[in-house]
């Protein structure tokens, strides 16, 4: 039988278009669809429900209205409203939409790097960040909002939907202080309605400036530290002047320090890209020095510094690129070891972190190919990560890291209707995403016959 006999493809498109037309005004308001939104109500029926926060429901139903989960439970106990479009989902599994708390979705790939800073790994998001700015109108810096650069593409949305993702944090990719990320719910093709939160976090990368200072990693570390010192000093001078300007030289306005100050003074979130085990320790030192509210991204060698991370717990946004970083001893002692490490060691990073009791989310990072991301998650599961832990690392944990766990990350009444319907268990090879609800908007990807 068809997945949804009562929703024609044409109607689906209409629904998408309607959602796009309506739009969402501001970041947090996006979670609450505006009153003007009058999309269809859906009742998904017959599926197994894996809510991520509670036990699975074997034969369940989910009612979705106005972008929210209205009701959820065993099929017999959930009342199907009269206005609902019925989505027959027998044999499918419903998961919360996956969240990638770090991606480069909708960003134009930067031009090939002219040169790579020593000590930075190949193939990681950091590598791409060596490149010349793709667009000179957006010089990187703490005040840059990546939202301004995004060029949404239907193909990218579909690629991520098909891997189960409904929510992504998009981070900028260039410079040391790369700028601020935006959190998106992948509910269509227009950017504004997708925005959950602009300026979600400040992203910092241990890279270098092209043709200028700093040109080395050690210079970069000094530069980051001096920048936080300066931002703090700047804000203190501004505050001092605001308190009592008499007799004080007016401190000059500095847009860079102005943008940076809230991250060092008000603990707004900062994400450090850490491409190898040493980067993690370097970031931890800076975080401690300036008491930052930080997350560490990449961290594909986090298992090697698990002890240090236990001592200074910090949210980890763990990447799924299993190539050993270029500086790693697993990359520099011959091809045989490098290949073995890529196949066996690095995929087991997440499992090791779970065993160590560390708090981590899994992220897609620079990988724009949703299917490859999902394959990598499955590889991590094969390398010992439990499916439950993998699901948490892609749902409730990133939602919590991003401060949106009351709205996102699990299937519960009242939460955003980000639901993925999968034929098979999502982390099993061959499982296929059949349909996705993002903010209650239905995207149909497979004609699944029973």
């Amino acid at each position: 039988m068809k997945l949804s006999a009562r929703v024609s493809p044409a109607l689906s498109l209409l629904i998408v278009a309607a959602a796009a037309l309506v739009g969402f005004a501001s970041a947090l308001a996006a979670v609450q669809p505006s009153a003007a939104d009058v999309g269809p109500t859906y009742a998904v029926r017959g599926c197994r429900i894996v809510p991520a926060t509670g036990p699975p429901v074997e034969k369940g139903a989910i009612v979705i209205r106005d972008g929210l989960i209205e009701a959820l439970g065993p099929a017999g106990k959930v009342k199907i409203p009269g206005d609902a479009e019925i989505v027959e989902a027998d044999g499918l599994v419903a998961y919360p939409g996956l969240v990638s708390a770090l991606s480069n979705l909708f960003l134009e790939p930067p031009a090939p790097a002219g040169g790579q800073a020593p000590g930075l790994a190949a193939g990681f998001p950091g590598q791409a960040r060596q490149a010349a700015p793709a667009d000179d109108r957006f010089p990187p810096g703490p005040g840059l909002l990546v939202l301004d650069q995004l060029k949404p593409k239907k193909a990218s949305v579909e690629s991520f939907h098909r891997a189960g993702f409904t929510t992504v944090l998009v981070a900028p990719t260039q410079g040391i202080f790369e700028g601020q990320s935006v959190l998106l719910n992948l509910n269509g093709e227009d950017i504004a309605p997708m925005v959950l939160r602009n300026g979600a976090a400040l992203h910092i990368n241990f890279t270098t400036e092209r043709g200028g200072y700093p040109s080395s990693l050690m210079g970069t570390i000094a530069h980051i530290r001096q920048s936080f010192i300066d931002a703090d000093y700047y804000a203190a001078r501004q505050a001092q002047y605001a308190r009592s300007p008499a007799g004080l030289k007016r401190p000059a306005y500095d847009p860079r320090l102005e943008a940076l100050a809230p991250f060092v003074r008000d603990r707004r979130p900062v994400v450090f890209q850490c491409n190898n085990q040493e980067d993690i320790k370097r970031a931890l030192k800076i975080v401690a020095e300036f008491k930052l509210n930080a997350m560490l991204a990449g961290a594909t060698e986090a298992w090697r510094v698990a002890e240090a991370l236990k001592k200074s717990p910090v949210p980890l946004l763990v990447g799924l690129d299993f190539r050993p970083p270029a500086t790693s001893k697993y990359a520099t002692q011959g091809e045989e070891l490098r290949k073995r490490a890529e196949a066996e060691l690095y995929p087991a990073n997440a499992a090791a972190l779970a065993r160590a009791g560390l708090d981590f989310a899994l992220v897609s990072g620079a990988n724009a190919d949703g299917a490859a991301v999902l394959r990598a998650v499955r590889a991590a599961v094969k390398a010992g990560l439990s499916k439950e832990a993998a699901l948490r690392a892609l749902t409730v944990t990133p939602a919590r890291f991003l401060g949106l766990d009351r709205a996102l990350g699990s299937l519960e009444p009242g939460k955003t209707a980000n639901v993925v319907l999968v034929k098979g268990e999502i982390f099993d090879d061959g499982a296929q995403v059949a349909a996705v609800f993002a903010d209650g908007v239905l995207f149909k990807y497979a004609e699944v016959s029973k």
């Binding site: 190949a122 270029a326 990359a331 520099t332 002692q333 011959g334 091809e335 045989e336 070891l337 490098r338």
Partner: protein
């Protein structure tokens, strides 16, 4: 002045050889104006060849421990130098009347060492392009000849010589065909005068393994994969050689028959013909195992005489190299293994493995400023499995055989050129001091850039 020059050397000697040094000073004084010391304003000059009749002088080194390399050691014997040659050598050899007598008590006599690949006279200060002449631009340069650019008064030559290196192959490098090397005696007033073999070998370079991903030197040289594209280059060379042979055929035919068109002069083909006719060997820089095998087949197919140079993975193809009878000149051992899997000691044990398999090996400094270190490469290989006697042969008789001059040099034997080094200890040892050196029977001045500068600044009074 000359006596003072000798005193410098005497000052450098350990107490154990003080008496020998003193006699050396005397001998030098006798030689009088035939010599040139270090501090006469010709600082760094390479030529110290005695003028006039000095060559004809008859000399005898007595009471010396003779390490002839070919033949048995003599605990205490005499070497007679006459007409530039070794006229007599052994335990019971008489000192000819009127001969200058050098008392070698406590010293050892070795044949002068031969550096099988150097940049002596082509590279003076490696970082100053104006002083570098070993690397022509372009890929195919069989027409360039190292001898024609050798700076005979290079400051590096007297330094190498004063450590017992008396002959050296001077090689061009770069591109695919780098040019023709020469074999020099490290003594003479002009480049031509120094030439033992003006055309020693045609140099061909296959890609190196340096910087292979995961190699020891990966961090140093930048990442990349170990290159094994030698076979492609060898195919290109085959085509060049075929063209040269075809050119020769047409040229020769046209020379005999005026009705045939005379081909345009082809520099590359002309320069390759001596190689193709077997007048000189190809010295092929080859590094990886696969390339080594390909190069063995190449020289067999082309019927070339060949010497392989570098050969970092020779230990993996030692049997084939031995079977093909191709000698190997090792590159500098001051290098890291380019391929991690070969093990940290690969460049050190390489020579020992090859020699055991029957490959004739020789060492090289692959340098100009450190050409003096030739013996230490041999000793390093000995620390990692090369037989010590073979290590000595690999800087003396082996290179002489490889470059076709074993009838003249490479060992202390009657009738060979009197290239003799008197040392106070094992010549491959770091602490060993070289006391006196003869090249073609002429005694060399051992002063050099080092001793000259040192003497100059020793004169600086301390006013502190």
């Amino acid at each position: 002045m000359t006596a003072r020059g000798r005193v410098i050397i005497a000052a450098l000697l350990a107490a154990a050889v003080a008496s020998a040094a003193a006699s050396a000073a005397d001998a030098a004084a006798e030689a009088g104006p035939a010599r040139r010391g270090g501090a006469d304003g010709a600082a760094g000059a390479g030529g110290v060849r005695g003028a006039g009749g000095a060559d004809a002088k008859v000399a005898a080194i007595t009471n010396v421990r003779i390490v002839p390399v070919v033949g048995a050691e003599v605990a205490s014997g005499t070497i007679v130098i006459e007409g530039g040659l070794i006229a007599g050598i052994g335990a019971g050899v008489a000192v000819p009347a009127g001969a200058e007598v050098v008392d070698g008590t406590g010293l050892r006599a070795y044949p002068g060492m031969i550096d099988s690949y150097s940049q002596l006279g082509l590279v003076e200060i490696s970082g100053v392009a104006a002083t570098v002449d070993n690397r022509e631009t372009g890929r195919i340069n069989p027409q360039v000849r190292a001898l024609e650019a050798v700076r005979y008064d290079s400051m590096h030559i007297p330094i190498a010589r004063s450590n017992g290196v008396t002959a050296a192959v001077v090689a061009p490098s770069g591109g695919v065909i780098s040019g023709v090397s020469c074999l020099l005696r490290l003594d003479g007033w002009t480049n031509r005068e120094m030439a033992v073999k003006p055309m020693a070998a045609m140099h061909i370079e296959l890609p190196g393994l340096g910087g292979g991903r995961g190699g020891f030197a990966a961090g140093r040289m930048g990442a990349g994969t170990a290159r094994v594209d030698g076979p492609g280059i060898l195919a290109e060379l085959k085509a060049l050689f075929a063209a040269a042979r075809a050119y020769e055929k047409r040229r020769d035919a046209a020379a005999k028959d005026a009705r045939l068109p005379l081909p345009e002069f082809d520099e590359t083909s002309e320069a390759l013909l001596p190689l193709l006719k077997g007048e000189m060997p190809a010295m092929i820089s080859v590094h990886g195992e696969r390339d080594i095998r390909a190069a063995i087949a190449f020289v067999r197919d082309e019927g070339l005489g060949a010497v392989f140079y570098g050969v970092e993975q020779g230990f993996k193809a030692a049997g084939e190299l031995a079977a093909a009878g191709i000698p190997v000149v090792l590159g500098s051992l001051y290098d890291l293994p380019p391929v991690w899997e070969d093990g940290y000691d690969a460049v050190f044990r390489n020579a020992g493995v090859m020699a055991k398999a029957g490959v004739k090996v020789a060492f090289s400094s692959s340098s100009s400023s450190l050409a003096k270190d030739l013996p230490y490469h041999a000793a390093k290989a000995a620390a990692f499995g090369l037989d010590r006697a073979e290590a000595l042969r690999a800087v003396t008789i082996n290179p002489a055989e490889i470059f076709g001059v074993a009838d003249r040099m490479g060992s202390l034997e009657k009738g060979k050129a009197a290239n003799i080094v008197l040392a106070d200890n094992d010549i491959l040892e770091l602490r060993t001091k070289i006391v006196r050196v003869w090249i073609d029977g002429r005694e060399c001045d051992l002063s050099n850039r080092y001793t000259e500068l040192l003497e100059k600044f020793k004169k600086k009074g301390s006013n502190l």
